[in-house]
Each structure stands twice: as C-alpha cells, then as structure tokens.
C-alpha cells in the first residue's frame, strides 16, 4: 500500500513539475478545445479531439503559427449545459487565444456568453441548432450547416419518396428538437400531414410504446432527428414490429456504428449527412493518416474538426497577431479557399454560407450516397 501511495505521490509531483515547465514556456499559442470527452457523447467528442490533435501536429510540424507552436487545452463539456459553462470559464481564465469545438448545441449555447464576455474567437465545429444564431454575440463562427438547411433537405427528400404523412421523433435536446420542429413546420407549410411528433428520453432503450403508436398512426415515413445509438435501437424495433415505411435519420446518426447496432434493420434507411469522410473527395489522405494514428476510422465530424483548427490557425496567421478582434475580422473575411470539407465562408450571422448536406442510404452495412 505504501508503495502505491509513494508511486502516486511522485507521479503527481512529476506532473506538477512538468506542468509548471509547460506554463513557463509561454511563447506557445494556446487554443482551447471544448468537446464532450466524457458522458453520453464521448464517442464523437474523442473522435473530434483526435482530428484536432492531428491538425495541430501538422501545423506544428510545418513551423506553427506566427512562428510559435500551437498548444491545445482540451476542456470537457460532457454534452451538459452546466459542465460546458464550467469548461468555458476555465478556458477563458487560461487566456486562450481562441476556442474550437462545440458538439452538442444544448451545451454550446450557454458558453456563447462566456466567450462573448471574454471576447474570445470561437469556431463552432458541429453544433448547428438555429437557436445558436440569435445567441451569438458576434465572436462565434459556425462551420457546420445549420438545422434549417437540413430540414429543407429532409422535406425535399420525403417529397421525392412520395411520403404524405410523417412521424417525427426527437430527444428533447436543443439539436434534435430544433431539427424536429423545423422539419415539422416546413412539412406542414408544404401542405403535408404530421402523423405524430414524439419525444423520447436520451438513453432509454425501449421504444416499444412509440413504435406501437407510429404503427397505429399509419405514417408513411419516420424521421429520427437525434443521435445514432438510440436511433439504431429505434430502427431495430420499428423493423422488428414489421414497420414497412421509409425511415430516415438526421446528421447525428450517421455513425457507422448504427449498422453494428441495428444490423440488417438499417438496410434501406436514409440519412441526411454533413460531408462525412468517406464521401469527401479530398479526404483520402486524411482518412489514412487518422487511421494510422488512432487505429480506427475517423467519425463523421472528424473532417470538420480538422478544418476547425486549421481555420483558426489560418485566421491567427492572417491577423498577424493574437489580437481577438483581428482574428475575428480574419474569420469573417474567410472565403475563396478549399478546405477538407469544401469552401468555408460566412453569412452576416456568422453561419456557413452554403448547405453541405447530402442524402445517404444504408446498403450492405455501410452508408452509400443516394442520388435523387
């Protein structure tokens, strides 16, 4: 026992020592990374952090930014509004030059104020609820297409499938609820019928009640707007109960894990997706490098995460200093460049200027591009 304590104590001491050395070396540029690395969305968060680390390593290997090395300071937002505010305050107190991250919209929204007050440039990678737009004090830039682009894609798709009556299910969080209600409103505005609009709890595995309800309502199609893990279970249970209609899922459900969990039931399921690695023409090198570094394929938000840090680095370089306003100025002038996920330029609201959504179809245990 004493041995263990001594070992732990010396490890802690060593850590502190190393930490203070790192602190003393202040000529690095520190970028905060706010992602859920524990909790329910840790799979995505860790995957995104990996991609950001990859980008940082590449930038540092080619001389860094403004001649300095980039140092990442990850803070765990846990997809939880309270913990994300703590993470944001911690990053703000470290005087980071900029922050990249933001996966769960619900947890990202309250951090906008924290970074706004501290005037820290914030590149939001994945969170794409339209609720983030009015809450943005002006220092945040969203590089993912927002929910209304996705709702439009969804409505067009369901119409092309001849769907009349649509069942929508979300999990009540900012992201899935936003997408669900945007789609509902657009679907109604297009003159169609909503068969049912349901909310289920995150982490609940039993969807039998909702499935029975949907079967009763004779909906032509089901749209799941939340994340893949629970979505896979819903798809399984719908098909097990013999539901024959169209099933489509939103961009939170495009993980390939969906096929592992849902199995054969996921065949013929449609998804609306951001530019995921497999469908990006320029991402081959990125995919190979990511796999050799981390031993698994990059997840759906890895390319956007990579771009997030690259964009931040580019903006700092362009600003020529670590001055916050200059960096924000540089970010809003972004354009004309080809990034991993395509061109990035911003609207007046600091949202991505173009839709990047595509429609995918599950075939043979993987996503394939669905051509309409």
């Amino acid at each position: 026992m004493r041995n263990i304590i001594t070992t732990v104590a010396s490890a802690v001491a060593l850590n502190v020592a190393i930490g203070s050395v790192a602190m003393a070396q202040s000529d690095a540029i520190t970028i905060g990374v706010q992602l859920p690395t524990t909790g329910s969305e840790a799979t995505y968060g860790i995957d995104m952090l990996n991609a950001i680390q990859l980008a940082a390593d590449e930038i540092n290997a080619s001389g860094g930014v403004l001649g300095k090395q980039i140092e990442l300071s990850p803070a765990d937002a846990a997809c939880d509004p309270q913990q994300s505010v703590n993470a944001a305050s911690m990053l703000a107190s470290q005087n980071v030059v900029g922050v990249v991250g933001g996966y769960c919209s619900g947890a990202t929204q309250p951090t906008l104020n924290t970074y706004g007050d501290a005037n820290i440039p914030f590149v939001i990678i994945a969170a794409n609820s339209t609720k983030l737009i009015p809450a943005n004090p002006g220092n945040a830039f969203m590089i993912n297409s927002t929910g209304d682009y996705q709702a439009e894609t969804a409505v067009d798709f369901f119409e092309s499938q001849g769907v009349e009556s649509l069942a929508i299910i979300n999990q009540g969080d900012a992201y899935s609820q936003d997408l669900a209600s945007l789609t509902r409103d657009e679907w109604k505005a297009a003159g169609h019928e909503i068969a049912s609009f349901d909310v289920v709890n995150k982490g609940e595995q039993d969807f039998s009640a909702v499935v029975s309800k949907i079967k009763n309502s004779n909906a032509d199609a089901v749209f799941w707007t939340a994340y893949y893990a629970d979505g896979a279970l819903l798809i399984r249970q719908l098909r097990q109960r013999g539901y024959q209609g169209v099933i489509a899922v939103g961009d939170g459900s495009t993980s390939s894990k969906l096929f592992e969990i849902a199995g054969r039931a996921a065949e013929g399921v449609y998804a609306f997706a951001n530019p995921i690695p497999a469908f990006l023409p320029g991402a081959q090198d990125f995919n190979i490098q990511y796999e050799s570094e981390y031993g698994r394929a990059p997840g759906p938000y890895a390319p956007l995460s990579y771009d997030g840090l690259q964009l931040m680095a580019w903006a700092i370089e362009k600003a020529g200093s670590t001055d916050s306003d200059a960096i924000q100025q540089a970010l809003s002038s972004a354009g004309g460049m080809e990034w991993l996920t395509g061109p990035i330029s911003f609207t007046e609201d600091n949202t991505l200027a173009r839709s990047n959504f595509i429609v995918l179809e599950g075939k043979g245990g993987e996503w394939t591009r669905h051509e309409q």
Binding site: L233, E260, I261, G263
Partner: protein, 304 residues
Amino acid sequence: MSFFDSFFQQLINGLVLGSFYALVALGYTMVFGVIKLLNFAHGDFYMAGAFVGFGALSLVSGALGAGWMGIFVAMLLAMMAIGCLGVVIERIAYHPMLNAPRLSILITALAVSLVLQNAALALTGGQYTAFSTDIGFGGFEVGNLFISHNQIILVATAAVLMIALELGVSRTMYGRAMRAVSIDKDMCRMMGINVAGVIAVTFFIGSSLAAAAGTMAGAYYGSIWYFMGFLIGLKAFTAAVIGGIGSIPGAMLGGLILGLLESFGTNIEFIGSEWKDVFTFAILILVLVFKPTGLLGKSEVERM
C-alpha cells in the same frame, strides 16, 4: 387498430419494460433493507453485468451458439462475476463506513458509481458496443397484437428470478437471517448471526440480479455502453420507492407499475409523449403523498 388493440399492445410493452425495472429495483430495495444505504452504484452493476455478459457470450457462443441457450449461460456467468464484484465493493467501500453518518456512505455510493462508469469509459473508449446475438424477431400475431418470443422469454426469466428470490427470502435460513438483519443488526449479532456474511450475500444477490437484467437488456435491445446504467438506475430507484423501499414484493410491483405507466403515458391522446415523464412522476408524487412509505412499505416507528 382499435382502442383495445392499442391498450393490450401497450400492456405488453409495459410488462417487458417493467420486468427490467423490477429486476434492478430489487437490488436497490434489498441493500436498503439490510444496511439502509441507497446504493447509487446499483445502475452501474447493471451496466457492468451487460459488459461481462457480452464477454461471456463471445466465449460460450462457440460451443452453445449465440441464441437464448448461450445467452442464459452468459447471463449466469455475468451474475456470478457481478455478484462477486458487488461483494468486493461492499467490503472495500461500504463496510468500513457502516457506522459512519448516513450522508458519508451515500456520497461513497455516488463515488463508486462514478468509478465504475469511468472505468468502463476508459476500457471501452466511450464506444457503443453492438451486442450481436442470433435471437430472431419471430413472434405471435394475435389479431393486430404482436408478442415476440423474446418478450415472452424475458418476462418469464424475470419472473423465475423474482419467484426464486421471494422463496429464498421467505423460506430459507439465509432469507430469515436477512430479514432479521434488516430489522435489528445489533440484536442479530447478539443472537450469533453472521451479520457481515448476511450483508455480503445480500450484495451478491442484488448485484447479480442487476447483472441478469443488464445481460438480457443487452441481448434484447442490441447495444451496450458505459452509461447505460444511469437512467435505469434512476428509474429502478423510483420503482423501489413507489413499491416501498425495503420491501421485495414492493420493488417488483413498483417496477411493473412504472413500466406500465411509461408505456401508457406515451399514448395518452391529445398530449404528446413529452408529457410521459410528467405523468409518471406525478403519480409517484401522489403515491408518496398518500402513502409515504410506498405501496407495500411498512411504516417505521423510530423508538428512542
């Protein structure tokens, strides 16, 4: 579908869900009965049981296949392993604190929960694991109703486990000792009952029931991950309270009631499923207002 079809379909849904809640609630209620501890780590035993069951299934599936036969063997192995884990955790974390203030041991339970969750996170990398089995989707079609074979097996297994437990507690010597310890530990000690042993057995049984539920849930729903114990832990705790915490039949009843309430709550006309939890927990409040000890709980008189 007529109203009756929909009613009976939700009844079946609720029974399946309720069986899981009941199995997990039993562990809560047994531990509370014996050492007056709300074991918040209990949901994580369910999660750990699912992972051990998954590992065990991949070991035995070569010989037994990944159908229900293999799943049962895997479930028994998981019950043994998690039962032992429960005993070890009780020894390390709870036993030294049995005479400490109630709040300290409650916090310890929360800590154990976080330790288990984060250990599982570290071991699995936060990934969802697909619990693949060969159980089919077949079932009976009765009019518009559909009952799958899996649902019948699940409810039957849960019922067998619960009946065995009830018989064990009411008919065996250990069961009698357990009931005695829950009433008065000091007196039991004076009567020569091995109190520490009884507590260990209680933890073993409670944890292994959670492991049984975890393995079956993994096989039935098809995916497991490190956070799966959280929500069901909360629900099972609620079920135990509805039924009367400390009462074994109460936990079973509470689990079934909660499962049924949730299923029916989803389908109330005119109000959406977002009201499901409002409905369920409003009933919890009503139960507690009119019967603070839960439906089958005994009122405890504190004597000075």
